[in-house]
Structures are given as C-alpha cells and as structure tokens.
C-alpha cells in the first residue's frame, strides 16, 4: 500500500524565525538597559524637640560653601568656580597636621579609635573638619549636584592619598576587596577621614 511508504510529514518550521523575530522586537522595544547610577546620601534624622542642640562647632573647623540663587558660589568668604571647589576642599580636609597653629585649617585631635590605632599607631591626629553646605531655594539642581560631586571627589581623593601612601592600594580597591583585612583597612581610612557634609536647614539667602 502506498500509505506505509509515506513518511510523516514534517511541520514547516520556516515561519518560526518570523515569530521569534516578532517577540524579539517586542522585547527590544520594551527593554530599558540603563543602569541606575547616582550619588548616595543619608539625610540627617528629623530634629526632635526635646533633644538639646549639639554643642557649637568652632568656625575654624568648618569649611563653608554657600550657593546663591544666581548660581554663584561663596567658599570660605571667597568667590569661587565649582571646578576649583574640589582642590580647595581637599586641602581643607587634609589640613596641616604638622602645623596645628594655622588658623585657616581645622584643628586636630588624637584618636583612640581601635582601628586607627591598629593601622596608624596611637595618638594619630584626626582632623575635626566639617564641610557645611548651604544653598538657596533658587539654586539650580545642576549646581547643587556639581557641588556634591566635587565634595565627594575631594573626600575620595584625600582617602586615596592616605590609602596609597599607607597600603599601596586605592581606597576603592581596599573597600571592594574580598579580603577582610583590606576591608578593615578601608574602615580605618573611613574613620580617619569621615565624610562630614552638613547641610544647613534650608533658608532664603536670596541674592
């Protein structure tokens, strides 16, 4: 009989590619490949009423950055461009440990932090630096981000300098390293140069 000789007919798979293409194009269109990046910050907790105000900070230890509504920058009572902010802030953060009498730079205090003692020896001087950032309601967001970026860069460069001098690795290498010893070193550097950016309660400075 003819039937027994006939083979089972295969399903034509030629249109499979078309179907797959259709799906592919759908996913190509809907997909968003952008990796979200940004500047991470932690806001200060809300002010409680019954908590006494913190002790005043000596003006010498504060690096004041003001931005007005015309997007002009006043840094330590001097007009400044945003691009120069990083170097100025870095100079301030590092300070002058050898010359504590210099009034332009922050004071130092000897540290008893066990991690710092472990890696840097006892009584290692720590700067009491604080960076105070105040902006007007009319300041542009672009400038604000530029300032935040510059200050973050100043801190990471200051940390890197210490890390390379002391451990021969950059701060990020230490922080992202798999070894716990390196992570400890990164922690010590973080304790040595803590990122202290204080944002004042918003005000209308005007200008």
């Amino acid at each position: 009989m003819a039937r027994s000789k006939r083979q089972i007919q295969e399903i034509n798979a030629g249109s499979m590619a078309d179907i797959a293409f259709l799906l592919l194009i759908f996913f190509l269109v809907t997909t968003t490949m952008d990796v979200d990046t940004g500047l991470m910050r932690v806001l200060p907790p809300p002010i409680l009423e019954d908590v006494p105000p913190p002790p005043p900070v000596k003006m010498r230890n504060v690096f004041v950055v003001l931005a007005n509504s015309q997007d002009y920058l006043l840094v330590e009572n001097d007009y400044m461009q945003v691009e120069d902010l990083k170097d100025a802030a870095k100079e301030f953060i590092i300070g002058k440990p050898g010359n504590p009498g210099d009034e332009r730079f922050p004071e130092f205090k000897a540290s008893q932090d066990p991690l710092i003692v472990k890696y840097f020896g006892p009584n290692y001087p720590i700067s009491k630096q604080i960076i105070s950032l105040q902006n007007d309601r009319g300041t542009s967001y672009q400038l604000y981000i530029a300032i935040q970026d510059q200050l973050a860069a100043a801190y990471s460069e200051a940390r890197n300098d210490v890390a390379i001098n002391k451990f021969g690795k950059t701060y990020n290498e230490l922080k992202d390293s798999k070894s716990a010893v390196d992570n400890d070193k990164a922690k010590a550097i973080r304790a040595l140069i803590p990122q202290r950016i204080s944002e004042a309660e918003p005000k209308e400075i005007g200008g």
Partner: protein, 158 residues
C-alpha cells in the same frame, strides 16, 4: 592532477535553518534582561552628570521620585513649572509621607531599612522644590536617598 570535478558548479545557498536558533538566543537574552516599565513618566527630566557616582543595586528596593517640568501635552493643564511625580500621578510635597508609608508597607519588613529613594530631578529645576521633598522625606524617616545622576566621562584627570 585534477581534484575538482569538472562540470557545472553552483554555489549552494546559505542554510537558514539555524536562523531561528540565533533569533531565539537573542530573544531569551532580552527576555531575561528586560525590566518592564512600571510607571509612565509624566514629567521630563534631563538628569545631571557627576563623576563620583555609585551604582544602585537591588532595584526592587528603590522607590523613585520624579521631579521636572510636565510633558508637552500636559503643559496646558499643569503648566511648565517643575512638578513632583510619585508612582503614576502628580503630587505635592505633602503627599510624600503617604507615599513613603505605601512603599514601606509593600516591602518586606526586614528590608525596610535598605529602601532607597531615588530622586530623578531635572537639572534645570530650582533647589526649592528639592529641599521641600528632602524635608518631607526626613520627616517620614526615609533617610537613604540617591540623587540620580549619569556618569560623566572623565577626560581631564587621571
């Protein structure tokens, strides 16, 4: 010596049998990497650039707050001033505590402290509205924030 056979010789057509396989491979790649948009944007923003950026990990633990001028078709109703968008609707700074609570209630309790609030703000926005949002976030105890910025390509240094 003659190796090749004489006679008519045609170039055989390229087999397209493996085409579906290749397309399927691409398809699976996109299916796996794709993240469906959860909200449709009603505001436009050109996000500022910065160098010291960090990657946002674990997108399920990120809540977005968009600030920027409304989209062109909506400008006749909402004006051109920057507005806040939470989820799918325009909002006022005073709506933020409710938004924070709803985000927190949708998250596993153990992971609430890891929640990050990503501020996607147009570069030309004035700080006033951003400051209001930050104050509301503080009041709602949503302290981990992230200023969304794209990575600037570093030309000058290093």
């Amino acid at each position: 010596m003659q190796i090749r056979k004489k006679g008519k010789k045609e170039v055989p057509p390229v087999s397209t049998a493996s085409l579906p396989d290749i397309v399927f491979m691409l398809l699976f790649f996109f299916m796996v990497t794709t993240v469906m948009r959860e909200t449709s944007l009603k505001v436009t923003h050109v996000i500022p650039k910065a160098k010291e950026v960090a990657k946002l990990e674990r997108k399920s633990l990120v809540a977005y707050i968009h600030i920027g001028p409304p989209l062109k078709p909506l400008q006749s109703i909402y004006g051109t001033e920057p507005r806040i968008q939470l989820d799918d609707a325009f909002a006022l700074p005073s709506d933020i505590p409710t938004f924070v609570e709803s985000v927190k209630s949708q998250t596993d309790e153990a992971e609430v402290p890891l929640l990050t609030y990503s501020l996607k703000v147009d570069a030309k926005t004035k700080m006033g509205i951003v400051v209001d949002v930050k104050q509301e976030l503080r009041k709602a105890n949503a302290l981990k924030i992230n200023y969304s910025t794209s990575k600037a390509i570093d030309k000058a240094s290093r």
